[in-house]
């Protein structure tokens, strides 16, 4: 205010000084010059700034992303995308987005041939390419079939998009006529299952059908459960099934739905997933020829383990004798031979014959079944005694053909009583069943009483413990994929009930038996050859890496052993084919590579011949029917709606003719420009010119 007052005073003084000039033109000129000077000085003193604001629109572009994945080839999706993209005019920046971002000079360059869509990744890549500040709007034209959006927009992607601050407008290309396609939209089942336990499986089937559908669950290619779905109006129906895996290991769960005659693709009617089947409990059948201390301690040992389901039967009545009392007076029950050796056989992991002369019980006729069960991966233990092996007449039975020992008649009738100190063999010292561990103590303080004779170990068997005259006491062997063992004494219980009070605790007994049964049922710690796949779920053409590891009988890596990999699709209609042979390295490992075949479960099996024994191991690979992109047909506009709503954009799902081209919303902020007027050179020039002009005029007009 003071400055303005001063300026006015100066102006008044100037007027007062000039008012006596007779010529009004000269007076006005000088007054104007003085006024101009005052204004210029005021500008310097007050430092005024010229502020302008204007939107950034004129320099911004519309980014149009068109889905270029293979699913856009269905129906007229690609043509319609082209048509819509053209509406944005020549100034829009066009990109094709599939598994990578490709600039398009013209919509006609769009090819629906890319891999699986990554729409969010494509948007981000386009923003990077164009520059966020230059993007006026993003328009995404797609059928919504982005596998990564199937489960909704991830929190991470949502945060990235919101942070970018760009609205994404989406245009969903829905088909004019519904595509005929049944697809397995989702399979809900645990990737882990317990053997012989119920595994619930839920399958969502998308697509309409006016005919009943059958949904089938398969394990390693073999149907195990099915459900019939009747036609209804729902686009997604759910089949619920239950199955019970019968064996442990790396399996494949497949789900298939009936294919319609005119389906867009049948590749999505079948889904394959890895299923790891593990053992929750070990099921053991223990058959004893008679009650004894050995059977009692063995049964107590097994029952003490909560992970064991034990079915035990003791023969309570002698071979020759009946019991002459009313059956109501006893608790004897018939020996359920048929039930145990019939269908129930497959439910057991381990069968134990304890000093059991089974001939009188009609079991001989079930021996082929028992042998087949063992060869298929079961396990069989014979505990000796006076009624077992040669002394139990086993040499006349077919069981003699597949025990790890050959049976021959001996002068002592196959049983020799008397105390002896067992001796650990060289193999036994390293074998996982009998190798030493802290606290085991010295074998010389362990005694046994009575042992079976007439036993000769087979060439491929391993004798771990020997008795008098090197007779085999504990012998283990293989029968097909199964394992067998013979413990040729019925006095192992004395290890649980040490004679000497100062003897080591009974844990040696329990440890030995735990390790024996672990080896028999092929617990992972007791497997010689293992095969591991880097990933079990692959797509056709993928290169799968596999590692086979071989451990020798001495529990050291077996180096320099040839391992052969075979591959065959399940269910097996053709014999497996040899893939490769590799030699184990110093770590006992052999590395393989297998190119995944066509969709379905594939069994990969390695085999190796080592120390007289053929070892095998296998995994089942879940090979998808095709890349995910090829399995999706029905458009998924709701995924695009989510994307638009998340970023504040608009979503359209209309026919192209009715589609309003989205207005380019300039969401970018206004730009403010500030021009400091007082600091410009022309202000000083004006002051100088005004002063000069006034001085020159005053001189020429003769004024002072």
């Amino acid at each position: 205010m003071l400055v303005f007052s001063l300026a006015i005073v100066v102006l008044i003084l100037a007027w007062s000084n000039l008012r006596h000039l007779p010529h009004p033109g000269k007076r006005a000129t000088l007054l104007a010059l003085r006024g101009g000077l005052i204004l210029a000085l005021l500008a310097v003193f007050l430092q005024p700034t010229w502020v302008t604001e204007h939107p950034t629109t004129p320099d911004h572009v519309v980014v149009v992303l068109i889905d270029g994945s293979r699913s856009m080839g269905h129906g007229r999706r690609r043509a319609r995308a082209e048509h819509i993209a053209r509406k944005f005019g020549p100034n829009a920046r066009l990109f094709s987005v599939g598994d990578q971002l490709t600039p398009l000079a013209d919509p006609t360059e769009l090819r629906a041939a890319g891999g699986a869509s990554d729409l969010v990744g494509g948007v981000e890549a386009a923003l990077d390419r164009v520059g966020v500040s230059r993007v006026g709007a993003v328009v995404l034209i797609s059928d919504g079939l982005d596998p990564q959006l199937a489960g909704g927009l991830s929190d991470e992607a949502r945060e990235r998009l919101v942070t970018a601050g760009i609205a994404i407008h989406t245009i969903a290309l829905t088909d004019e006529r519904p595509v005929t396609d049944l697809a397995i939209a989702a399979v809900r089942a645990s990737p882990f299952a317990f053997v012989r336990n119920t595994l619930p499986v839920e399958v969502d089937i998308s697509g309409r059908s006016d005919k009943p559908l059958t949904v089938v669950a398969l394990l390693d290619g073999t149907p195990v459960a099915s459900q019939r779905l009747l036609p209804d109006d729902r686009t997604v129906r759910t089949a619920r099934m239950q199955l019970q895996p019968k064996s442990t290991g790396a399996h494949v769960l497949s789900v298939a739905v009936t294919a319609l005659p005119d389906e867009a693709t049948r590749a999505n009617n079948r889904v394959h997933r890895p299923l790891e089947v593990i053992r929750d409990r070990t099921r053991i059948l223990h058959l004893a020829g008679h009650p004894s201390w050995d059977t009692r301690f063995l049964r107590s040992h097994l029952r003490a383990d909560p992970t064991i389901d034990l079915i035990s039967f003791y023969i309570m009545v002698g071979r020759g004798g009946g019991v002459f009392v009313r059956s109501e007076d006893t608790t004897l029950i018939p020996f359920p031979t048929k039930q145990l050796f019939g269908e129930a056989m497959a439910d057991f992991d381990l069968v134990i014959f304890s000093d059991f002369d089974f001939a009188p019980f009609g079991i001989e006729r079930f021996m082929p079944r028992l042998r087949k069960w063992v060869a298929g991966g079961g396990s069989f233990l014979v505990v000796g005694g006076p009624e077992a092996l040669v002394s139990g007449g086993y040499d006349d039975s077919s069981v003699a053909q597949w025990l790890p020992v050959k049976l021959r008649q001996s002068t002592d009738g196959g049983w020799r009583p008397g105390e002896f100190t067992p001796r650990l063999t060289a193999i036994g010292r390293a074998h996982p069943i009998t190798r030493s561990y802290p606290g085991f103590g010295n074998w010389s303080d362990l005694t046994l009483e009575g042992h079976n004779t007439g036993l000769n170990p087979r060439a491929d068997a391993a004798v771990l413990i020997q008795g008098p005259e090197e007779s085999p006491v504990l012998t283990v062997g293989h029968q097909g994929r199964g394992r067998t063992a013979v413990f040729a004494t019925d006095s192992l219980w004395t290890w649980a009930f040490p004679e000497r009070e100062a003897a080591p605790s009974p844990r040696r007994y329990h440890r030995m038996l735990r390790q024996l049964r672990g080896w028999l049922i092929r617990d992972p710690d007791f497997v010689s050859l293992r095969l591991q796949a880097e990933t079990r779920a692959r797509i056709p053409g993928d290169r799968c890496k596999l590692t086979a590891t071989l451990i020798g009988a001495d529990q050291r890596p077996a180096a320099g052993v040839q391992v052969t990999l075979m591959a065959g699709r399940l269910p097996r209609s053709q014999p497996p084919v040899k893939v490769a042979t590799a030699t184990t390295d110093a770590a006992g490992r052999a590395l393989f590579s297998w190119i995944a075949g066509r969709g379905g479960p594939w069994q990969l099996q390695v085999s190796a011949q080592h120390a007289g024994t053929r070892h095998t191991a296998e995994v089942v690979m879940a090979i998808a029917e095709g890349p995910t992109e090829d399995l999706m047909v029905q458009a998924a506009p709701e995924r695009l709606r989510t994307l638009a709503e998340t970023t504040g954009g608009q979503h359209w799902r209309n026919r192209p003719e009715q589609l309003p081209v989205p207005t380019v919303v300039t969401a970018a902020p206004m730009v403010t420009e500030r021009v400091a007027l007082w600091s410009r050179a022309w202000v000083a020039l004006i002051i100088l010119l005004v002063l000069s002009a006034e001085w020159m005029l005053r001189r020429s007009w003769g004024l002072t």
């Binding site: 201390w293 009692r296 035990s312 309570m316 007076d329 006893t330 359920p336 009930f497 004679e499 000497r500």
Partner: protein, 181 residues
Amino acid sequence: MVKLDSPQLFRFPLLVLAGNRALGSTSTTQMTRLRTHLTRGGLLLVDDIGRSGPSRRFDESIRKLIVRATGQPLVKIPLNDVVYRTFYRLRSAHGRRADVAVLWGAKIGKRWAVLYSQNDLHGAFSRARSGGYALPVLPGGEHQREQAWRLGINLVLYAVSLDYKDDHTHVGHLLRRRRGQ
């Protein structure tokens, strides 16, 4: 006959102790050996062989011994216990006498480590030199003797099979048989 401090003790998982008067003193070592025996799976069968009835002094000393050996007092074994049906189905636990209807016992874990009869089981089994039974069985006569034999067999089978007859397979079958199916 085996003594508690005998090296032979652990060759016999089933021990039988019979008497009709107070037990002599038991040393700490002997008690430790008995405890170890029972803990590792042994079974002690005690029989009161008093001629005219249970011996109070024997009973008192046995109860003290069992508490020291197992840490558990003797309890009555109900007639629905597996001991009474390991082979024969029994409704009482009579021996030569029928003074007490049930057995007594002490458990270690889930099994009976001590079984105690107050009815002179031995008396029912004992033979005279002539080959016949040495003592009359009262009051039930030969039927009671037969039941005593059955109890003896059950006890031995309990020693070597424990609760085998409690397995689901047996229980299910026996229940079906009882229902006449």
